[in-house]
Amino acid sequence: MASEYSAKQILEVQSLSCTREDRDLFSGLSFTLTPGHALQIEGPNGSGKTTILRLLCGLRLPDEGDILWNGQSIFEDRAEYLSNLAYIGHAHGVKGELTPLENLQVSQAMSAVESPISADEALEKLGLFGFEDAPSRTLSAGQRRRVALARLMLNPVPLWILDEPFTAIDIHGQKQIENMITEHVLRGGMAILTSHHPLDLSDDHLTSLNLAK
């Protein structure tokens, strides 16, 4: 399949260590992620899954180690790295007082890439047709998460970092989001996610990282 993103991009994590409140969450963590690959981070609650994702976004500084994007530390050339990254955390940043459409328009303006589709189309793809103009606080938790995930459709960036993307989403929607992720990876994108949900990707495309000791 033809790749939509540059094949040269590479994310390298070099001997990352992190402690939280005097407790070693993980140490000496290293991995490399190249286009067309997904990394699934697994582990029990409190094992530091979200912490890793926040480190990978550059929101948190590692105690030791470095994270390189195309050979450059992400803590140095922040803007270049961030223009390649989409993060959807546990708190996904969908404003209850704004409509789904307004929420997407804001994230579109914050992004540095041209959108291939309109905000309306992105919402329709996530099954939110007819809810564009309702205040987001009137939507269900699952629908609000779908609004957040619609950002991935709107701003085509190579690296997706997703914290439990399937939370609060119904079975049909889980399948849909799983397809979104596999399609993205097969198109030459990269994805890092924390979830226990099995992904329909062959071992060539999917790596698992288990944080349990």
Binding site: L59, A79, L85, Y87, G93, E97, L98, V106, M110, P135
Partner: protein, 227 residues
Amino acid sequence: MKNASLSNAFFTMLKRDLTLALRTRSEIANPLLFFIIVVSLFPLAVSPEESLLRTMAPGIIWVAALLATMLSLDSIFRSDFEDGSLEQMLLSPQPIALLVLGKIMAHWLVSGLPLILIAPILGISLFLPGEAMFALLATLALGTPVLSLVGSIGVALTVGLRRGGVLLSLLVLPLYIPVLIFASNAIATAAAGISIKGQLYFLAALFALAVTLAPMATAAALRISLR
């Protein structure tokens, strides 16, 4: 990055925060009501005597404006911090200081501007002489943006704390004192019929300093708070 996308990001942030404020109206009403109530309580509590109120008017109005602004500061980043929007903002490739400036400007339009509009009426109710009216408006116009700008640094530093309210006042209040002194002094001086150019220049300098440096300091503080 294109210039168009920079201004687009700035104005989108400004519009977003204004829309949010208009939809949750208490954000506008609360500081304004507080301002009016505090100022109108003084004649009742102290004395309705004209000469006394006239000398106290500049101080009363400015202290009330300062406290009203401080009351509303937390709203700049609090709800965005809680629902994850702040993380998304920090992960935007656009310059954070610019987005922060958009948010501060929205905060001032919502909490500072209404104070300026209502101030002349409150001035009259405290027998502030006509000559001092220009000084009142000019000091508020130059001073309230400084309060919003400097306050945003304090909010950014305390937004990650569960009970940051007291700490915020302690952090921000000392930085507000110069504005308070020069502004209320300017009004009193103008009421006496003396030129207030010096005070206004000083307030303008504070404003220039705050508008250029505060967004950057706030952006850095937000990075620390979210760590």
